[in-house]
């Protein structure tokens, strides 16, 4: 492997990793606050990509407008799912909400199969993202720079919200102790809705960019990236936003680099993440940056 190829692989892993990171943030935020693995999150990823597709083909919208609109619509859908399917179960055993989220996930997936049809669809890509830049023998797709850049932008906005605004303070308070936050006058339900909105918006953004990178849409497209992003969140330490980013990037690197150096293992690509998950859970269940959650007796 020469250095030009290596740089390309690096850029590819950065792209993939930042896409995982965006989805992982949504998982980690919801888990941090509600201790809920939101299975429906991966369907938000898929719906975001589809909404852009419909915005462009049916609505004749320009590409950036379609993208912004799709993110907004998906985010509202995320809030709606929480209100309908999770909020009534706040006082129920934790697994009830988890089962509900599995139900929502299957529901959305099959609604997508019914209304969008299971045939894979081609995605519109702006030309300027596709013309490769060639410097010093390295062939760079603008896309592989655009995706990490946009992801970084989203993450910075998120960090600003979580660490510099009052709503963010509320989120951090709820993730420490939901009942005390309630007593201290934090508008818990509004903050939870906001968390779902932000997390879902990031998943939608990731789905949209995923569709640019791997230009094909189908109703099941969210499942595998969703699982992997969740694993990235666990790897980084669930509940921690920097952890989710690091976990996502690390998983992207592991996947691309393993296949690059050991092409024979390509068929096992989807299993890496799960093996990683089981290893992490066995040896360091709190992940890289997670706090220890004690079982309350």
């Amino acid at each position: 492997m020469n250095s030009a190829m290596f740089i390309q692989h690096m850029l590819n892993s950065l792209t993939l990793g930042s896409l995982y990171a965006l989805v992982a943030i949504g998982y980690t935020m919801v888990y941090g606050i509600l201790r809920l693995i939101n299975f429906a999150h991966s369907e938000m990823f898929m719906l975001g990509a589809y909404f852009v597709f419909w915005g462009i083909t049916l609505g004749q919208l320009p590409w950036p407008v379609a993208m912004a609109l799709a993110i907004a619509v998906t985010a509202s859908l995320g809030v709606l799912v929480d209100q309908v399917a999770y909020r009534p179960l706040r006082d129920a055993p934790r697994i009830s909400a988890l089962i509900s989220s599995i139900g929502v996930s299957f529901f959305l997936q099959n609604v997508a199969i019914v209304f969008f049809q299971a045939i894979p669809r081609e995605v519109y890509r702006p030309q300027w993202l596709e013309d490769p830049i060639i410097t010093h023998g390295v062939r760079i797709l603008p896309l592989t720079l655009f995706v990490p850049f946009l992801s970084l932008l989203f993450m910075l906005v998120l960090l600003w919200i979580v660490y510099r605004t009052k709503a963010g303070l509320g989120m951090r308070a709820i993730s420490k102790d939901i009942e005390t936050s309630y007593l201290m006058g934090v508008p818990v339900n509004r903050i939870i809705a906001l968390t779902f909105g932000i997390g879902t918006a990031l998943a939608a953004a990731s789905g949209i960019m995923w569709a640019l990178r791997y230009p094909q849409l189908q109703p099941m497209m969210g499942t595998i990236p969703g699982f992997k992003a969740f694993i990235a969140a666990v790897f980084g330490g669930i509940g921690s936003i920097p952890g989710a980013v690091i976990g996502g990037l690390a998983l992207g690197f592991i996947e691309i680099m393993t296949v690059a150096f050991f092409p024979d293992l390509a068929g096992y690509r989807d299993a890496f993440a799960f093996v990683l998950l089981i290893m992490v859970l066995m040896f360091k269940p709190t992940g890289l940056m997670g706090e220890r959650l004690e079982d309350k007796v």
């Binding site: 934790r94 299957f106 019914v114 299971a118 694993i231 068929g267 096992y268 989807d270 859970l281 066995m282």
Partner: protein, 345 residues
């Protein structure tokens, strides 16, 4: 009610069920018999999941993985060497795969044992995890099994899977195994072990404080559950006569979880009833996927609609009737007798 009477009633119920099957075998058409077979297999699978989740509190989403192991092991053992010669077109099978052969009963048990072994191997590291982590880790296990099945063409024929598996699994085999499963799990739960399992489910910390070796009992329950999941997978393979890695997606686990939740976590009779109800419902829902003629208007069939209705049903159950059909109660001869005596009084 005396013990003798209960045994008598159980025998009568079994004879009635046997008579029903005997009649069904000759009078029902193939489609209805297929549904009956699926009912039996789904009950086996749901009972085993209920043992793991409903009675021991281990949230496992790995059922599809155990089923896949059972299905592949059993299929390899019941296909003849000639058949396997024709089947492995990607790469020739390993010699021991090529020559392995066993009668159906032994093959199903082998499938179950292989799944149980996998249960011990994954349970050993994973059962120390908390509930939702366990769920996601076992889900990961099921995915790994699928990826392996795709990538070992000399063992599993890769993505093509097996076709023309001998269809030994008739009504008698399936309902026989269903009865065995029910018997073993009922006996297990009525024993002292069963009480320990329920204690772990209700309060793990308290059970530990009482000196229970929590991990050992969890592993026991998980392994027994995995065994019957493997048996269910083996029977399913022989019933459907084709298997491939795509069959063992998460959807399969989801359907079984649905039966367990609908019947009631911690209720075996609830699981049996929900197993019948949901299998029939799933078949009946195929109607909405076919074109419907409504007062002269032709409504086009909608593929996928079945699962939309089905997943919506799960959400509604979990939102409005979380305990399912039976909660933790059981339908027993005593409760039936009570209803009758109340009628008399």
């Amino acid at each position: 009610m005396r013990r003798g009477q209960i045994i008598l009633f159980n025998c009568l119920a079994m004879i009635a069920a046997g008579l029903f099957l005997w009649l069904a075998k000759d009078t029902f058409d193939g489609y209805k018999i297929q549904i009956l077979n699926l009912i039996a297999i789904n009950i086996i699978l749901a009972l085993s999941l209920n043992l793991i989740y409903g009675f021991t509190g281990l949230f496992s989403l790995g059922h599809a993985g155990f089923m896949a192991i059972g299905a592949y092991v059993c299929s390899i053992l019941i296909m003849t060497p000639d058949q396997k010669d024709m089947l492995f077109i990607l790469e020739p099978a390993y010699d021991w795969v090529q020559n392995a052969q066993a009668p159906f009963l032994a093959a199903v048990i082998a499938g179950g044992l292989a799944a149980a072994l996998a249960g011990i191997i994954v349970g050993y590291p994973l059962l120390r995890l908390g509930d939702d982590y366990l769920g996601i880790a076992t889900l990961g296990f099921a995915e790994i099994v699928r990826v392996l099945a795709n990538n070992f063409p000399r063992l599993t024929n890769g993505a093509l899977g097996f076709k023309g598996i001998p269809d030994y699994a008739n009504l008698w085999w399936n309902f026989g195994w269903c009865l065995v499963t029910l018997y073993v799990i009922v006996r297990l739960l009525q024993s002292n072990t069963g009480n320990v399992l329920k204690a772990i489910r209700d309060d793990e910390a308290a059970a530990r404080a009482m000196g229970v070796n929590v991990f050992r009992y969890k592993l026991l329950s998980f392994t027994v559950g995995a065994f019957f999941a493997g048996v269910g997978g083996a029977l399913l393979a022989s019933l459907l006569t084709t298997i491939d890695p795509k069959m063992f997606l998460f959807t399969l686990t989801f359907n079984i979880l649905m039966i367990v939740v609908a019947g009631g976590l911690g209720s075996l009779s609830g699981t049996v009833m929900a197993g019948i109800g949901i299998t029939v419902l799933l078949e009946w829902l195929r109607v909405v996927e076919n074109p419907v003629d409504l007062f002269g208007f032709e409504l086009p069939g909608v593929p996928g609609m079945r699962m939309v209705v089905f997943s919506l049903a799960l959400i509604i159950i979990i939102l409005f009737r979380r305990e399912g059909l039976m909660g933790m109660r059981e339908l027993s001869w005593q409760s039936v007798a009570r209803v009758f005596s109340r009628g008399k009084a």
